[in-house]
């Protein structure tokens, strides 16, 4: 590919600009973690998940791989490894879609409308078809147990380390001293 990095950079930047916390794995821009909140008005509301996004070489012609790091109970997500059933995103993917689309449209849609005809988590699919209230209950349990904000702890890119914060604080207080003094 001629200039793949420009597209990736733009997409990553757009994602960060849309107020998603992003954590890079290395500087290669192949893989990173994003904090994803359950869509409001769905049974996953309130849950916070750490989602691993991997951009394939052929991105944007191929869809990115999505995986949930902390547990989620969903018919199209494998409970143990967290990988999302690829076909659901693959089939409708177009090179014009970007990462913001994935987190604003695809994932919420997947959570709101699971696709039981192609389940990775067969048990969840079967439970959903058989006994909907029990399924919803289980989803909520999993959210409470595994999808708390602490579980999805992401250190965003722009936050500095602890040391620097301390020294900044000191400087601030120094400035205030100087600024506070009124002119004679």
């Amino acid at each position: 590919m001629s200039s793949p990095s420009k597209r990736r950079e733009m997409d990553l930047m757009k994602l960060m600009m849309s107020d998603y916390k992003v954590e890079m794995v290395n500087d290669g821009m192949q893989e990173f973690f994003v904090e994803f909140r359950g869509p409001t008005e769905s049974i996953y509301q309130g849950g916070v998940w750490k989602v691993r996004v991997e951009l394939p070489d052929a991105y944007p012609y191929k869809s990115p791989s999505i995986g949930f790091i902390n547990k989620i109970y969903h018919p199209n997500v494998d409970e143990m490894s967290g990988s999302v059933c690829l076909d659901v995103i693959n089939q409708t993917w177009s090179p014009m879609f970007d990462l913001v689309n994935v987190f604003e449209v695809f994932l919420p849609q997947l959570l709101l409308y699971p696709n039981p005809s192609d389940p990775l988590n067969g048990e969840a699919a079967a439970l959903m078809m058989r006994d909907r209230p029990a399924y919803e209950q289980k989803v909520k349990e999993f959210c409470d147990k595994y999808a708390k904000p602490e579980d999805a702890g992401i250190t965003p890119e722009d936050k500095s380390s602890d040391e620097e914060e301390l020294s900044e604080d000191e400087d601030d207080s120094g400035d205030e001293d100087i600024v506070g003094k009124p002119d004679p």
Partner: protein, 642 residues
């Protein structure tokens, strides 16, 4: 006296559009105009539609995408010597008032000019010096014109020592302009409505917007008495003005000459035409096409006005097409962003699809090649997210190599035919044939009558042979020596089919053999997409079928799940036990699923019970081969914790 007063089309602005649209009825309160329903109105509407279509039809891909060697100077105006064929390939088929006919136009105008020479003008006696001076001034003027207006000034053949040229005057319309025409429908064709046909019940107003107007052609012949005594002979012509309007423009040009007798005037003429002609004609907001009824003008119009006189269904598409060509040119010259790779590239590097979306050539090529490689050929769609446009075959041909294009064609044909349930291939000559109602077909090329299920000769009333029966017959044939051709191959094939059918069921529509490895009994045929029940092989539409005798999950499947669940539960128990033993100890997060796994003793080789992967505590990477990862050169297998 300006003839245009009688020309301002009354109340044409803001009036009803097409007959089946709503009637604005600004000037006419009569509600009877609401919906003209007679057949002629319908025919007229159709003719109006055709105006659009013919404009679009000639706009096929060769116009939208630049031809492989980009034309050196994509120009609609005629090339320098009028007899040369047009440079731009895209307008070669058009035969409109642009490049192709441009040359012929100039000739015609010149001929017309020669007819005018000497009519209505006195001969002027000039001294030799004056002739020479004029000659020099003419030459200078032409030089200046060429410098200012570039190749919109076309020199024509010089005859009898008199210079002649044609200027393509492009009207300045910075934001574009609306163009409308009041039309009537009579004798099966569209015509311009005369000003006096006030039978307004079948008002057809065709309106469209352009950013570029076809130029006004000002053809000049410079006599030896110009510029000292007489103005140049000239003619004016263009597609979108009629005789009356052109005449009034001619009149204005005369006046401009009168203002500055004896001075070079062509530049002023061109300037005025470019900037002020539209408002002079009353076309500030909108240009109205019409035919120019000469009965209301006394002098029969100016000789120098040479209108097109073509009917609206020729003129309007020409104007629209000129606009599209110019817009495309502007696109090619500009720099645009590709929405896939975000690079900024000049227009020529882009490919425009029929749905008007455009992407850079590299991205389109990668996209198409990828799909052809993967085999998702059936619907190669426009990459735009909501657009359902397809990538047409001619663009594909340019982007893909020959081999890939052939592969695409072959796959497309195969997939389409396979998905059509009633197409079968003749067992003898492989031609595609259509299936008849009773599972039979007759090959159109070799006339073989065969049963589509077993692909043997037609057997009315008798069931197909099962693979076993076929094998027996074939074996008997082989033994008795009645061998026709390669019987071994046929037998092998039958044997394979027999094996396949042991574990598979056939899709009820396309008969593709599908075998189920795992999952529920609601099957989706990967070939044609039909749902069917694996238990009874019937075509189904949803899960309702399983309320009867067939079950969604066979006992086998349920047992398998139970076993898997048990395994998981066992692993969980082990993990919990481990957690208790190593309580408080640090758990190394598994690289795949992040579950914490404590070390056993000093061993850095860890096994994640959740995702069943091995990994190394030191480098936190998945370990595939223990001996390779932990060794003298790799990570140390046993280290004490810090």
């Amino acid at each position: 006296m300006p003839p245009r007063k009688s020309w301002k089309p009354k109340g044409s602005r803001g009036q009803a559009q097409r007959p089946h649209g709503k009637s604005a009825a600004a000037a006419d309160p009569n509600p009877a105009h609401e919906y003209p329903y007679d057949a002629s109105a319908a025919a007229a509407a159709e003719a109006l539609e055709r105006l659009d279509v013919s404009a679009a039809a000639e706009e096929d891909p060769p116009v939208e995408t630049p031809p492989p060697p980009p034309p050196p100077q994509p120009e609609a105006p005629a090339p320098a010597p009028p007899s040369q064929p047009p440079v731009e390939a895209s307008s070669s088929g058009s035969g409109s008032g642009s490049a192709a006919a441009g040359g012929g136009r100039a000739e015609g105008a010149l001929r017309r000019l020669r007819e005018l020479v000497g009519i209505g003008r006195e001969e002027v006696e000039l001294t030799e010096e004056e002739v020479r001076a004029n000659d020099q001034r003419q030459e200078d003027e032409i030089c200046a014109l060429e410098a200012i207006f570039g190749d919109t000034v076309v020199m024509l053949n010089r005859e009898e020592g008199q210079r002649s040229f044609q200027v393509h005057v492009h009207i300045e319309i910075p934001d574009g302009t609306d163009v409308s025409a009041r039309l009537s429908f009579g004798a099966g064709t569209l015509n311009y409505k005369g000003a006096h046909d006030e039978g307004a019940s079948d008002d057809l107003v065709y309106k469209f917007r352009v950013e570029h107007l076809p130029p006004i052609l000002l053809t000049c012949l410079l006599p030896s008495s110009y510029p000292s005594h007489q103005p140049p002979f000239f003619t004016l012509s263009t597609e979108w003005l009629d005789k009356v309007m052109l005449s009034s423009l001619c009149h204005m040009l005369d006046m401009i000459w009168e203002e500055q007798l004896g001075m070079e005037v062509v530049y002023q003429w061109v300037q005025w035409l470019q900037s002020s002609s539209l408002s002079y004609l009353g076309f500030d907001n909108e240009i109205v096409l019409s035919k120019g009824d000469l009965t209301c003008v006394e002098d029969g119009g100016d000789n120098r006005a040479c209108p097109d006189d073509a009917p609206p269904d020729l003129t309007i598409p020409r104007i629209i097409r000129y606009n599209d060509d110019k817009r495309h040119e502007a696109f090619l010259h500009g720099i645009h962003d590709c929405m896939i790779c975000f690079s900024e590239l000049p227009g020529v590097d882009f490919i425009k699809l029929p749905c008007h979306h455009f992407f850079c050539q590299k991205c389109m090529q990668t996209y198409c090649k990828m799909h052809v490689k993967e085999g998702t050929v059936v619907k190669l769609l426009c990459p735009d997210t909501k657009c359902e446009g397809v990538v047409p075959p001619n663009i594909l041909k340019r982007l893909l190599g020959e081999d890939e294009f052939e592969r695409w064609e072959g796959l497309l044909l195969q997939r389409t035919l396979d998905a059509m349930a009633d197409v079968v291939y003749c067992p003898r000559c492989q031609t595609a044939c259509l299936e008849d109602a009773g599972d039979e077909a007759v090959c159109s090329s070799c006339l073989f009558s065969f049963c589509t299920l077993c692909r043997e000769r037609r057997h009315v009333g008798v069931e197909c042979l099962s693979p076993e029966e076929k094998l027996i017959i074939l074996e008997r044939r082989q033994k008795s020596g009645q061998v026709k051709g390669d019987i071994q191959k046929v037998m092998d094939e039958v044997r394979s089919i027999k094996e396949i059918l042991k574990d598979a069921k056939q899709c009820p529509r396309c008969k593709m053999a599908i075998s189920k490895i795992e999952g529920c009994n609601k099957m989706t045929c990967w070939n044609c997409g039909r749902f069917f029940c694996y238990q009874c092989n019937a075509a189904i539409s949803g899960y309702d079928h399983f309320k009867g005798d067939c079950v969604v999950f066979d006992q086998e499947e349920v047992d398998r799940w139970e076993m898997q669940m048990n395994q998981r539960q066992q692993r969980q128990v082990v993990a919990q036990a481990q957690a208790e033993i190593y309580e408080g100890e640090y758990g190394y997060p598994c690289p795949t699923c992040r579950n914490p796994i404590p070390k056993i003793g000093n061993n850095n080789h860890l096994y994640c019970w959740a995702c069943q992967r091995h990994f190394c505590a030191l480098c936190r990477k998945v370990v595939l081969k223990t001996s390779q990862h932990f060794g003298p050169r790799g990570c140390k297998q046993h280290t004490a914790d810090d």
